[in-house]
């Protein structure tokens, strides 16, 4: 990683929210994450599986970006709030 990339990296920060079983697997409800670039949800997911190997025990979760369901191609930008949404069970 070059110095320039490191500087850029530190400039982008997203907030991760974990719910339900994923909160238990990760051990946290809220995590601030620095990212080096705008990334897709698919890329962020890979990153999450690396950081939190426990998540592989329950990989079929959805993601929401800024309180809307996202798909694999949705882009995640600086200051976005990204939620990890295991199968819902309200009602």
């Amino acid at each position: 990683m070059t110095n320039e990339e490191q500087i850029k990296y530190s400039h982008m920060k997203i907030k991760l929210l974990f719910f339900g079983i994923t909160q238990d697997l990760v051990g946290n409800h809220t995590v601030d994450l620095n990212i080096d670039n705008t990334i897709s949800v698919a890329e962020l997911k890979s990153e999450l599986f690396e950081r939190y190997p426990n998540l592989n025990k329950f990989p079929n979760f959805a993601m929401a970006v800024n309180e809307h369901y996202a798909n694999e191609d949705t882009l995640v930008n600086d200051k976005d709030i990204v939620a990890v949404i295991p199968p819902v069970s309200g009602g």
């Binding site: 929210l17 719910f19 339900g20 079983i21 238990d24 697997l25 025990k57 329950f58 929401a64 309180e67 809307h68 369901y69 939620a83 949404i85 295991p86 199968p87 819902v88 069970s89 309200g90 009602g91």
Partner: protein
Amino acid sequence: MNQNINIKLTDQKLNLQDCYAWIQDPTCGGISIFVGTVRNTTQQKKVNKLDFSAYSPMAYKEMQTIAERALKQFAIKKILIHHAEGLLNIGEIPVIIAVASAHRNAAFEACQFAIDTLKETVPIWKKEYFDDGEVWVNSHP
């Protein structure tokens, strides 16, 4: 704000009479109400209590979306969706949905649509507590 939509996510007990008072309307002849209650068993296992947690701001948005879709798709006048958060005991009420319409079929259809969709899309999670442990519903790793 659409005055024909009433959405609530609350840690207070849900109240059927309050929901009825809001939904009833002199132009409507039919009201369909769905009340979800906490069952004492699930898959032959005794349940002691449930704990509901929500991603609140998104849950509100999703419930609002359901209500708006229902008003668009069905010939209904008003719709209410109330959901509880926190610990609930057997017999207590996690959810009340109420729909008022001039003619009853639309109310029934919209009410069923709303609870079906809520269970698919609204970010709320239920943990079941048994004598021997607890489990997130729909999330067995």
